[in-house]
C-alpha cells in the first residue's frame, strides 16, 4: 500500500499570452487547494470528502471556470454542472443545469448519498437542492466582470470563444485568428476549451 496522493486542475488549453500576474494568481490558488487537501489527508479524512472539499474551494474562488466565475451561456446566464465518484464501491453522483446552488459538487455528493439516482439535472436538481437545504445564491453571484467581457467578445466574434480568463481581448482574438488548429472539424477559435 502506498501513501496518500492528490492532484488538482483548473482547466486545460491556456492562452500562450497569459499575463504573468494571472499565471501567479492561478498557481497560488492551486497551491492553496493542494495544501487544503494535504492537511485533510493528514487528518485521515477519506478521499471522497477531500475531493469534495477541494473542488468546493475551487468553485468558490472566481479565478477558474466553475461555480462563481463560471463561463456564461449565450443568454449571459450561468448553467453549472459537476460530478463526484467514490472508487470505494464505485458510487457516483452528478448534476447539470444548475443555476442557483453555490457549490454544485456538494449537490452532486448529495445525489450520490441521499437520492436513489446517480444524476439529476435542471429543475429537478434545483428542487432536490431546496429539499436538501444546500446553500443557494442568485444567478448573478456567479457572474464576474471578466466573463461578461468575454461573452461580449464571443458574441462580436459570433463564436464560442476561448475562456482564458484574459482581459487582453486582442491577444485572445489574435491567438484565435492565427491558430490553424481544428476541433471537431471547426477552427479552434469557435470553441472555448475551458
Amino acid at each position: 500500500m502506498g501513501g496518500w496522493a492528490i492532484a488538482v486542475h483548473g482547466g486545460a488549453g491556456v492562452d500562450p499570452n497569459l499575463p504573468l500576474e494571472r499565471q501567479e494568481e492561478a498557481k497560488a490558488l492551486l497551491t492553496r487547494c493542494l495544501n487544503l487537501g494535504i492537511s485533510a489527508l493528514r487528518s485521515s479524512l477519506p478521499a471522497i470528502d477531500v475531493v469534495e472539499l477541494v473542488v468546493r474551494e475551487l468553485e468558490t474562488d472566481p479565478l477558474f471556470n466553475s461555480g462563481r466565475g463560471s463561463a456564461l451561456t449565450e443568454k449571459g446566464t450561468v448553467e453549472m454542472e459537476a460530478s463526484i465518484m467514490d472508487g470505494h464501491g464505485r458510487r457516483c453522483g452528478a448534476v447539470s443545469g444548475i443555476t442557483k446552488v453555490k457549490n454544485p459538487v456538494s449537490l452532486a455528493r448529495l445525489v450520490m448519498d441521499r437520492s436513489p439516482h446517480s444524476y439529476l439535472a435542471f429543475s429537478g436538481a434545483e428542487e432536490f437542492a431546496k429539499q436538501q437545504g444546500v446553500e443557494m445564491a442568485e444567478n448573478d453571484y456567479f457572474i464576474t466582470e471578466d466573463n461578461v467581457g468575454m461573452l461580449k467578445l464571443a458574441k462580436e466574434a459570433k463564436a464560442i470563444l476561448f475562456d482564458y480568463r484574459i482581459p487582453l481581448a486582442e491577444s485572445t482574438c489574435g491567438a484565435a485568428a492565427e491558430s490553424p488548429i481544428q476541433m471537431n472539424g471547426l477552427p479552434i477559435s469557435v470553441y472555448a476549451p475551458e
Binding site: 486545460a12 477519506p46 448553467e79 471537431n184
Partner: protein, 131 residues
C-alpha cells in the same frame, strides 16, 4: 473546469469535477464534466478528472479509459494517462489528472498548457501550467 483526484491513506480513490462549461454555449448544453466515465471516474484502481474539449472527452470516455487500460492492459498510471491522451482523443484537445491506489499521481494533456498541481505523501509537490 476544475477537478480534484485523491487516494487516501487507506488506498481508496475518489474524483470530482465541476464546471461552467463553454463561454457563449447554448442553454441546455451538457459537457463531459458531469458524465461519469467521461469527465470523471474512480474505481478501486484509480481516480481521474478531465478537462478540455468536452465533445472529444465524451466520445472517448476518457476517464474510464485510464482505468480500463490499467485493468486490461496492465499499464501503470502514467503509462495509462499517456496512452489515452495520445491514442483516444483523435484530433480533440484535453487534459487529465489521475491518482492510483498505490499512492501515485499523474497528469497528461495534448493542448496548450493545463493549470494543475499535485502532491504525494513522500513530500513531492508540483504546481504548473505549461509543459
Amino acid at each position: 473546469t476544475v477537478g480534484c483526484v485523491v487516494v487516501d491513506t487507506q488506498g481508496r480513490c475518489a474524483a470530482a469535477t465541476s464546471t461552467g462549461g463553454l463561454m457563449n454555449k447554448m442553454t441546455g448544453r451538457i459537457g463531459d464534466s458531469p458524465i461519469i466515465g467521461a469527465g470523471t471516474y474512480a474505481s478501486e484502481l484509480c481516480g481521474v478528472s478531465c478537462t478540455g474539449e468536452g465533445e472529444a472527452i465524451l466520445r472517448s470516455t476518457l476517464a474510464r479509459d485510464v482505468a480500463a487500460v490499467m485493468e486490461y492492459k496492465g499499464l501503470g498510471l502514467q503509462e495509462a494517462v499517456d496512452f489515452v491522451v495520445k491514442k483516444r482523443l483523435d484530433e480533440g484537445q484535453a487534459g487529465l489528472i489521475a491518482v492510483s491506489n498505490k499512492g501515485e499521481v499523474a497528469y497528461g494533456f495534448n493542448c496548450n498548457g493545463m493549470f494543475r498541481g499535485c502532491a504525494t505523501e513522500d513530500g513531492f509537490m508540483e504546481v504548473g501550467i505549461w509543459e
